[in-house]
Symmetry: C2
Subunit: 258 residues, 2 copies
DNA sequence: CGCGATTTTGATCAATGTCAAAGGTGGTGG
DNA sequence: CCACCACCTTTGACATTGATCAAAATCGCG
């Protein structure tokens, strides 16, 4: 179980606002600018906390949200549904993600958000959020930065899905997730990590069929690159993985132009 | 030539700051919050204007930018380059787009920006932009909103590339561009529009080969849906196009759940 | 009028999807 | 503690989409 750090320490009762001063992940969230004395600003604005079990939905596509969510703990998958019924996963939200924000806050969202693990979020009122941001420039800027980060991730996904064959695509995807999980650690990405993804999730994220994802993972396993089994990802050959995933060499192709 | 409205009326000399009061697209840009008296804020911050011919590059992947750009006129294509040499187009910037912003302003950009038409941009200093935003909350918020918009577009592209077969994918792509061009007009999207895209551009955006894009466009033509010829897109059957592109029915698949 | 870039077409090939059925795995209730 | 169940994984045979290659036709432009 990859989640639980917060879930185990916070009260399970729904909608009990937790003291922001003890928020263990404030540094990674939209609340980051509020430190020390200024903290009561968010504390007052905050509506409460909510806890959701794995498999439940935070919101659905087409829904008119009244809240915004700060993901405190757990994994949430963001997706779109197409008329064909197919579902496309567009991002995986990790703790610190800010969910539900869009340029028109009074419009229904296009996204759905499903909990992959048990999840803890803290909630803010949606309608008045822009006003709060206008009163606190650092908050607005942090919001812009979070959105820019998500945009960059989406562009990376686009390049991955649009331009790489299945094996490289899968390698890149897993590598990206590993890097997000180990953000700070500079150590090479050897070893095992728990990842609450089924092969179907990976397929929906990568635009492949789940059967083919399975065959692709087998190839990566037989090549001795990595093993994904029972929600546990083990990297056997970090170097080969990074090669396949094209990490670190992403811009070299264009250096000649400069 | 789809661009030119501004290019024809502004002086061609490079780096002549134009009076922001006469900026014809301020309403669509990041500068939107600055009206009337407050306008000298941007006017002073602005470095100057720049004019680029079609085919030139505004910036390259891996470059450390010192400026940010407000696209005043023309089309700019944003792309990433993969180690394989393949190029993936991740967005088309239209007038009003704000280019070069990312969560870490001192990092090199992952994106390249190439002018599809003659282009006019106005430039801001990059390093101090966050400071300006902190002093002007409405600017920071507008920045967040622009980024959220771009993010939503990227998610739409992801769903398109990841989940739709070539014909629908192409139909959706063209439909989306048409809607962006006719943003305000509610009229059905019949008729002809100039679009400065080669079939290769479309291929690079959709993750298809250019040969197959050609075959796909032929099919759309033979089905009487649309014709794309010599940079001019003519929609023959708007209803069928919207059906193929799955516009307007995007969420209906999930209404059952609610 | 001619040249480079784009578009178009046909033939062939490779990558990925679909279908169907057989194992695993973990969770739940008796 | 065991048995069962739902869901996930794995595999093979086959179908299909889209890629690649190569050559001819067309277009924009000097």
């Amino acid at each position: 179980m990859p989640s639980g750090t917060i879930l185990k320490t916070l009260p399970r009762a729904p909608s009990i606002p937790v003291d922001c001063a003890h928020c263990p992940i404030r540094e990674q969230t939209v609340c980051r600018p509020f430190r020390g004395p200024g903290l009561e600003v968010v504390q007052e604005f905050k509506l409460g906390d909510r806890f959701l079990p794995a498999g439940s939905d935070l919101f659905w596509p087409g829904q008119e949200l009244s809240e915004l969510y700060n993901l405190l703990d757990g994994w949430v998958v963001l997706y779109r549904i197409l008329a064909s019924g197919r579902r496309q996963i567009v991002d995986f939200a990790l703790p610190g993600a800010f969910l539900g924000y869009q340029s028109q806050l009074d419009q229904p969202t296009q996204l759905g958000a499903e909990c992959l693990t048990d999840v803890a979020v803290c909630t803010f009122p949606r309608k008045s959020f822009n006003d709060l941001a206008l009163r606190h420039p650092a908050l607005a800027l942090q919001l812009a930065r979070l959105n820019a980060q998500a945009l960059s991730r989406a562009h990376g996904q686009l390049a991955n899905i649009g331009s790489r064959p299945a094996v490289e695509r899968t390698a890149h995807f897993l590598c990206e997730i590993l890097l997000r999980l180990r953000r700070d650690e500079t150590a090479p990405l050897r070893g095992a990590v728990d990842i609450p993804l089924t092969q179907t999730h990976i397929a929906e994220a990568l635009g492949l069929s789940s059967v083919y994802v399975n065959k692709t993972l087998r190839e990566l396993r037989e090549e001795g690159v990595l093993v994904l089994k029972n929600g546990r990802l083990t990297v056997l050959d970090p170097v080969r993985l990074a090669e396949l995933a094209e990490f670190e060499t992403e811009f070299s192709a264009h250096e000649k132009i400069a």
